[in-house]
Amino acid sequence: MSILTLIRGTIRELLSKATLYVLLGISTLVLLGTLVAISAQQTNEGIVLHLFGLPISTPAQPEELMPSVYNMQAGLARGLFVGIMLFGVFATASLIPDSLEKGIVDLYLSKPLARWELLAGRSLGGVCAIGAVTVYFIAGVWLTFGIRAGVWNVHFLLSSITMTLMFAVIGSMLAVLGVIFRNAAVPIIGCFLYLMVVDNLLDSRQTVLYMLSENPLYRTACDVFSYALPQVSSMQRELSNQILQRPVAWQAFLQPILSAFGLFGVAAFIMHRKDF
């Protein structure tokens, strides 16, 4: 019950800031843009998809249109994934450091709340808020494509849950950095660096990092980091497969989830050892 109160309180805190509204505003603008841009015209030969009034497909039956729509949705999801991750990190990075500030942490810890619960409540509050924006956007796009093109891709709708899960994985990284450095700047920089550089390097370690040295110790270190840290790139690939209704390797989600639990465990341990 304490965790639920904390989650509610965290969402309320995020709602008091402009960042979440900016994210909602951008999502709404993109949604409206999609609504205006996408249209379908019924011809004698079949349905033709239009983008900003220009035909982008040959006349086809609804089921033949599906691959084109799925591809568009996958493309949108990839863009949204990057946007959600970066904006989500920016919006929620301060949640844990703020709650550890003098005068605030005292109030929280004087309540019957274990330290890991404080971390979990704050992290989950952030995940819920970002998840709500993701669901809002994805559901809007799904409705647009359903209404405009007659394609109701449930897998695209479900990808909002997958994306929220992926943000939760990044949330564990924010938790560790937030507890260690107790400020928002380092978690933001750290997560941006990880998402944009480190994760890609580790993902392509056999073709990039291995080339730098043949030292077995170095290569083992690359492997250890790759398996210990959440493999976001592989999750992203499977997200596309999910939307395109291709076979999904669900084990690709297992490693990041386990890694997230590991990182959260580290954060909880550090938090447990700290004096406030």
């Binding site: 904390l6 309180g9 005068g103 406030f276």
Partner: protein, 323 residues
Amino acid sequence: MKYPKPEADSTTVHAILTHSLTKIYKDAFNRHPSVTALRDVSLEVRQGEIFGLLGPNGAGKTTFVKILLGFVRQSAGRAMLLGVPLPNVEVRTRIGYLPEAHRYPSYLTPVEVLMLFGGLSKMPRAAIASRISTLLPLVGLEQWKGMKVRRFSKGMLQRLGLAQALINDPPLLFLDEPTDGVDPVGRKEVRDLLVRLKHEGKTIFLNSHLLSEVEMISDRVAILDKGTILKVGTVEELTRRSNLYDIGVAGEVPEAFHHEAAANVLAFRMNGNVMTAEVKDVQELNRFVDTLRKHGVLITYLAQRKSSLEESFLALLKREMAP
């Protein structure tokens, strides 16, 4: 590191019980020398009393409270709150705490703040709502209940802090500078509230620099300096000065008395109709009174002089600092 835990105590006569509580702050990288914030602090706070912890800045008062509340881990020793050995998270459902520098979410109203912290105290929503309707008038914030906390003055925040500490109707309250920033009228109201809570059976652990306030409402007081308890006792015990007596006299004191007193090495001074005598013991006091009566001086009252808590506190610290 594992700490020895006290045996579970079935007799919860003591709201707070500590034994040889020690805290040494160590620098992980050995850049700075270790600091001993608390050294073998053993303290008993009985249920239903107002207990004041006094000490200069850096004495270890806050560290002591933080250990009891689980913010800081002790290096050695053990402690119990309400009969429950620490560390224990659940015991905090029965504790209220007002920190010295508290910061409430500025975007919330007092009602929302209390809903948040009531929820964190594991209270049902209906119980929180009912408690809020009692607490806001009690701390004088009823008319401001719809205002955002960011617009509150320091005194109003302090009142909100008190309400927050009381939200779960705890039997044990830790208050750090409860009247900080509150105007004199408000201070009186806070003092009255604390006395009322005491009469309701609550234990109040007071951490304050305002010695006069502590003196007014505390049953017992402990003086802490450099991490060590110097003295524990009732306010009465700490403020009694056995060798000074005020003697009310009616009319003029004859010159002959002054001569005889000087001859008998009796030290005194006059201030209007009050004579303050400094005596070694009760025998000397009686000798002093006999001398007065011998010279026909009418005694209207005799009272043992008490120093204020502040005077006692400063005297005690001075003695400790003396080589």
